[in-house]
């Protein structure tokens, strides 16, 4: 925790040292770099986003002028979202009730990806049958709707 605080203050110090003129020029690139650093601090030992640390980072960023903190916040949000998506999958099914197959999928995914995956189950009637799983940027799909769409593509 102490190490995290030190890194955070160092990062923000680096930010405040940037002269205004250069800050405008390098805003986007620098903001992304700083946000990336903040996102590393925001993770716990398991590689998951720590809510407490996020709160701390946000309170520190609040002290900065809006013009400086806003681009960092935008990038920070994007990176944090990506981090959460990497261990939190969304399983869409015709029926939203959790069953053994959902648990099996979560278990298999955790084994394949090497870290524990949490699954959020959503109802999607347009699938007709089967499932659609999104984890990070990857989508695994085995549904009737996708098969029909593939057939449509091959016929047109």
């Amino acid at each position: 925790m102490t190490r995290s605080y030190a890194s955070l203050s160092l990062l923000l110090k680096r930010l405040s040292f940037l002269p205004n003129k250069f800050f405008l020029m390098l805003k986007e690139a620098k903001s992304f770099k700083i946000a990336k650093g903040l996102a590393t601090i925001a993770l716990n030992a398991e590689g998951r986003v720590d809510q407490e640390k996020i709160g701390l980072i946000l309170s520190e960023l609040r002290k900065e002028p809006t013009g400086r903190s806003l681009p960092i916040l935008r990038s920070f949000l994007k990176i944090i979202r990506q981090k959460i998506n990497s261990y939190e999958g969304c399983l869409e099914k015709y029926n939203s009730k959790a069953d053994s197959s959902s648990n099996l999928i979560a278990e298999k995914l955790s084994q394949t990806l090497g870290n524990k995956i949490d699954l959020v189950i959503k109802e999607n009637k347009s699938l007709i049958a089967g499932f659609r799983l999104r984890i990070g940027d990857d989508v695994y799909e085995d549904s009737i709707a996708s098969r029909i769409s593939r057939l449509k593509k091959s016929l047109t």
Partner: protein
């Protein structure tokens, strides 16, 4: 009816039932035919990506937090937050003989309402140009049918010859004439049944042109019977810049198929100035750093990688060729512009067209001094080389002497003779649009000039005399022309036959 159900049944049987895995992203911003997509972490450079409503795109900018994609198609249906999928494929277009006689868009989809394209083969739009080993030097001629070009700036199969000039100087006309001439030669060659005859198939790529101009070009090809050997790739001015950017590469892939299958092809890029402008637009929207005239740093590579794909392959690689005629439009005759100098340095020569000559009625307005073919007489048949070898020099001397003679009242006989000869050659080279002349007839006409058959004809009447000679040679005096066509040489006996024919023609003139 049963065939349709059979087809559907077959498709269902072949349909993969495995779970699919795709990499997805979401549209963050969308502007001017370019989408910035968040996600797509596994996308490849130049990979085809799929947007909703069957809109395709190409991943051009792979950045740390987003991917810049150019869109190929209707963008008005897309919105922020839409899902984008990778396809795992590079952008490909249909290729093959099924494309001949067709008009397609930048991604090879038919736009001529003649039904689907009859082709099962596709080639990726972006390919690496043939290396050094499979290539061969350019030796086979590619006749344009334009006397001024074929005699002074001969083009060979596999060559890249730039057509450059201001607007309305006849650049497209030269390209169209060349295509019409290929069709003429193809018809004659295929009718002759010569097993060694090699037809030249043509691809005309219209980039950023008015639809009316493209329609006119199609009409000319149809009227002259050339359309059956031509594929038109059209990306008009109303098309989005991504399509205009991709169109020449698509056309090139279509031409490469002929080259790689041992055939000869000709591709016209009309024009690369507009192509560079479309690429500049894309690059600026993608926020790539801009350089001179706001063009991105890789604008040279844009054209060099395209034109390097035109080549003559050696016998071990099928002996095919792809000849390129890129067109560049200059501003106020300035050849030292950024894009013109780039393309001049890439190509194997240029045909420079001058506005002044065009306005004087000298059409095609080929500037003898600035035009050059680096392949030279290696790309001429022996007979033509024999009669046209000195023409460029004679014409250059004429231009020089004509400038001096304005201040001189007394001219010696030799100078006068040179001026006379030059004036006659200038008249001789005047040619109406879409009226190419076959090489054997060109050879006969040039032989007539070299043997003083035109000396007694008034300069103002040369054009009509040439027309009558062309008609005479293609009807009555065809024996000598046939010999030139078959052997490619000008033997003593052929010369005698030609002399007899020309004397007969001369009698009809007096």
């Amino acid at each position: 009816m049963s065939s349709i159900t059979d087809l559907i049944r077959k498709e269902i049987e072949n349909l993969s039932t495995d779970a699919t895995r795709t990499n997805v992203g979401t549209i963050a911003t969308l502007a001017d035919g370019v989408a910035r997509v968040e996600g797509l972490s596994k996308v490849m450079y130049n990979e085809m990506v799929e947007f909703p409503n069957n809109v395709l795109g190409i991943a051009l900018n792979l950045e740390e937090d987003s991917v810049g994609c150019v869109l190929l198609g209707e963008t008005s249906l897309l919105k922020e937050g839409d899902e984008v999928r990778t396809t795992g494929k590079l952008l490909s277009v249909p290729v093959g003989k099924g494309l001949l006689g067709r008009v397609v868009d930048a991604v090879g989809r038919p736009i001529d309402e003649k039904g689907p394209i009859d082709s099962d083969i596709t080639y990726p739009v972006e390919r690496i140009a043939p290396g050094i080993i499979p290539r061969k030097s350019v030796t086979q001629p590619l006749q344009t049918g334009i006397m001024a070009v074929d005699s002074m700036i001969p083009i060979g199969r596999g060559q890249r010859e730039l057509i450059i000039g201001d607007r309305s100087t006849g650049k497209t006309t030269i390209a169209i004439d060349t295509i019409i001439n290929q069709a003429k030669i193809n018809k004659k060659g295929l009718e002759s049944g010569d097993p060694d005859f090699r037809a030249v198939y043509c691809i005309y790529v219209a980039i950023g042109q008015k639809n009316s101009n493209v329609a006119r070009t199609i009409k000319v090809f149809e009227k002259t019977g050339a359309m059956e050997y031509v594929t038109i790739v059209s990306s008009p001015a109303a098309d989005n810049p991504a399509n205009q950017y991709i169109a020449p590469y698509s056309g090139c892939a279509m031409g490469e198929w002929f080259m790689e299958n041992g055939m000869d092809a000709l591709i016209v890029y009309d024009d690369l100035s507009k192509h560079a402008v479309a690429y500049r637009q894309i690059s600026l929207i993608l926020k790539r750093p801009s350089g001179r005239e706001a063009y991105p740093g890789d604008v040279f590579y844009l054209h060099s990688r395209l034109l390097e794909r035109s080549a003559r392959l050696n016998e071990d690689n099928g002996n095919g060729s792809l000849t390129a005629l890129p067109i560049i439009e200059t501003q106020m005759g300035d050849v030292s512009g950024y894009i013109p100098t780039n393309v001049i340095s890439i190509t194997d020569g240029q045909i420079f067209l001058e506005t002044d000559l065009f306005n004087k009625g000298i059409r095609p307005a080929v500037s003898v001094g600035l035009s050059v073919s680096r392949v030279g007489s290696a790309a001429q048949i022996k007979a033509y080389k024999k009669v046209a070898g000195k023409v460029k020099l004679e014409l250059a001397q004429f231009r020089e002497l004509a400038a001096f003679s304005q201040f001189e009242s007394d001219l010696d006989a030799a100078t006068k003779a040179r001026l006379d000869r030059g004036a006659r050659i200038v008249e001789l080279f005047k040619q109406t649009a879409f009226n190419p002349v076959l090489v054997e007839i060109q050879t006969a006409i040039m032989w007539a000039v070299q043997n003083d058959f035109f000396d007694s004809i008034e300069v103002s009447k040369i054009s009509s005399a040439v027309d009558s000679l062309k008609e005479y040679l293609s009807t009555q005096g065809s024996e000598a022309c046939d010999e030139i066509y078959k052997s490619g040489k000008l033997e003593k006996s052929t010369e005698e036959k030609l002399r007899t024919s020309l004397e007969d023609w001369k009698r009809t003139q007096s």
